[in-house]
């Protein structure tokens, strides 16, 4: 696989000493959908803004399509697209005019055909004369995407594109991105939602300005070496309470069930059963489910914390 972005020891310290990103190095491959996943303030946005040349690194460098991030900013800008968190559009310009503007500033001369393609692709053709301000959240997001694609960038950076968008539009958006991958484009997306992380080819889990883990979703899930036991029982809340008081399991409550992260079913289930029956709780159903990325992430954070405490 061909490396399209190679990041080496990239570091950003903001004025006032806040560490944006702390010495990260990794590569992103061509035509990959790569995810930056992690909580707010973990360094996802900083990394994207660094790679787009919006801010300068304090240290380190990156190679983007063979161009040096520090020296060839202009060359890089010609080849990338960026969608900021706010899907910034001119609300008082029409859909057509917004795309036209972004074509103009990128010096795209014959943009009309490409614009038609993009409008069709994002299913906005019927709305082309509408002011961007009149569009729904999901449509704004798609228009913003169309604007970033007008100059046929080789790489696009999407900063939390699905935050605040309803599920139907979100699904629609992912479908569009899935079609984009066919155009040999490389897509880098940040998201705070771990349930979306399964959609990436590879992802980096960000926390506290560092990368906790970087791999395919499947490999990351496997790395947990833990089992998740799902239990359905009559009184979820007292079950949760009883287990938390008597064990160190990591437990997640849902409306009608509990997920318990344990080492193995054979070893741990009897313990769980014992505690629950002592508390008069009857287990109605049980099964082993694959660990989710969220399980892994929380586990990683907890181990990090204990490591720190031991230090």
């Amino acid at each position: 696989m061909q490396e399209i972005i190679k990041i080496s020891n990239l570091k950003k310290i903001y004025e006032g000493g806040v560490i944006g990103i702390d010495d990260i190095s990794f590569s992103i491959y061509k035509n990959e959908m790569f995810g930056f996943v992690g909580p707010d303030g973990a360094g996802k946005t900083t990394t994207i803004r660094l790679l787009c040349g919006l801010i300068n690194p304090t240290d380190g460098n990156a190679d983007i399509m063979g161009y040096d991030l520090r020296k060839d900013k202009m060359k890089i800008k010609d080849n990338i697209g960026y969608l900021s968190q706010k899907f910034s559009l001119y609300t008082d310009l029409s859909v057509d005019e917004n795309i036209e503007f972004f074509a103009d500033i990128h010096g795209v001369k014959d943009y009309k055909e490409r614009r038609n393609e993009l409008l069709q692709f994002t299913r906005l053709t019927d709305f082309r004369k509408f002011y961007a301000g009149k569009l729904s959240g999901g449509m704004k997001q798609k228009l913003a995407l169309a604007c970033t694609l007008i100059h046929k960038p080789k790489i696009i950076f999407l900063d939390e594109p699905t935050t605040g968008v309803d599920p139907v539009s979100r699904r629609d958006f992912w479908k569009i991105l899935s079609d984009l991958i066919k155009e040999e484009i490389t897509i880098i997306i940040s998201t705070p939602y771990l349930d979306e992380a399964e959609r990436f080819n590879r992802l980096a889990l960000f926390n506290n300005a560092k990368i906790l883990k970087l791999d395919t979703p499947a490999k990351i899930r496997e790395s947990l070496h833990k089992t998740v036991i799902e239990i359905v029982c009559n009184n979820i809340r007292s079950a949760d309470k009883a287990l938390k008081e008597n064990t160190n399991y990591e437990i997640q409550t849902f409306g009608d069930r509990l997920n318990i992260v344990a080492d193995s079913f054979e070893k741990d289930f009897p313990v769980i059963e014992n505690i629950l029956s002592k508390n008069g709780i009857e287990i109605q159903d049980k099964r082993i489910i694959p660990a989710s990325l969220e399980n892994v992430f929380i586990h990683l954070l907890k181990t990090k914390k204990t490591e720190l405490q031991q230090l």
């Binding site: 605040g164 599920p167 991958i181 399964e198 395919t216 409550t253 409306g255 992430f297």
Partner: protein, 310 residues
Amino acid sequence: MNSIEVKNLTKKFGNFTSVDNVSFEVYRGEIFGFLGANGAGKSTTIKMLCGILEPTSGDATVGGFSIKTQSEQVKRNIGYMSQKFSLYNDLTIEENINFFGGVYGLEGENLSNRKKWVLKIANLEGKEKLLTGSLPTGIKQRLALGTAVIHSPNIVFLDEPTGGVDPIERRNFWDLINTLSSEGTTVFVTTHYLDEAEFCNRILLINAGKIIAGGSPKELKENYIKTIILEIECGKTIDALTILEDSNFFGSATIFGNYIHVKLKENDTEENAKDFIVKTLSESKINTSRIDKISPTLEDVFITLLEKKD
């Protein structure tokens, strides 16, 4: 008695019907999820139930009080918090708590007890003097919830409370909601993150002002998902996707990480589809290593229901 009983509630704005003849009830102490896309009528309903917007027709009782004739009592007996509900960033944590306590007429020992409680649930004990603006979003959200229920209401309305909050904080926030609920408070919550809806006891789906489905998360999945989704792991994912899309055999096909998800057409069987996939892909020399049925999520339910409407 139910916490909330809604009967034929309707709200029109001019010609636009925002909430259309909606009836449902919320049981005491449950976590009730109210879901829908933007503009589906969620906020309008919440505003009516909180007694700040008068219904065009129909009525509802909240904690036993009519929202039409007793809106003042309704307001006194509920708590409300939204994503936009913001504490005063330029006041300290304690000043914010005191202010909202004052708004609900708490004073003396009562106030100091509740203040302790709010600080405890927000995990802010000993940090009373910090400026609220300096707190991270997640903590602020928990503090906001604490102040929203400082007067110990029986019912609390949370309007998209977790917008912009990261997963770990969201989980902590839901732990807090669980705590409230186990103490007997009825929690009425809206969200458009459907993975969160899984935490609710019961859910109502609303679209274009009308209720389109309701039940526990499990019931919803069992009752409404009839189509099968398969996850395919194979070589040359992108080429495979094009081939499968062009075959017109499926309802839809998308890339999902390193895999492909296909939705079967309504009457297709799993076996039939699996055979078709392996055969079609092998014709193009693509090797299929795994095909699994995906257990549906609430998001699938929601989208299926909405697509049916269209």
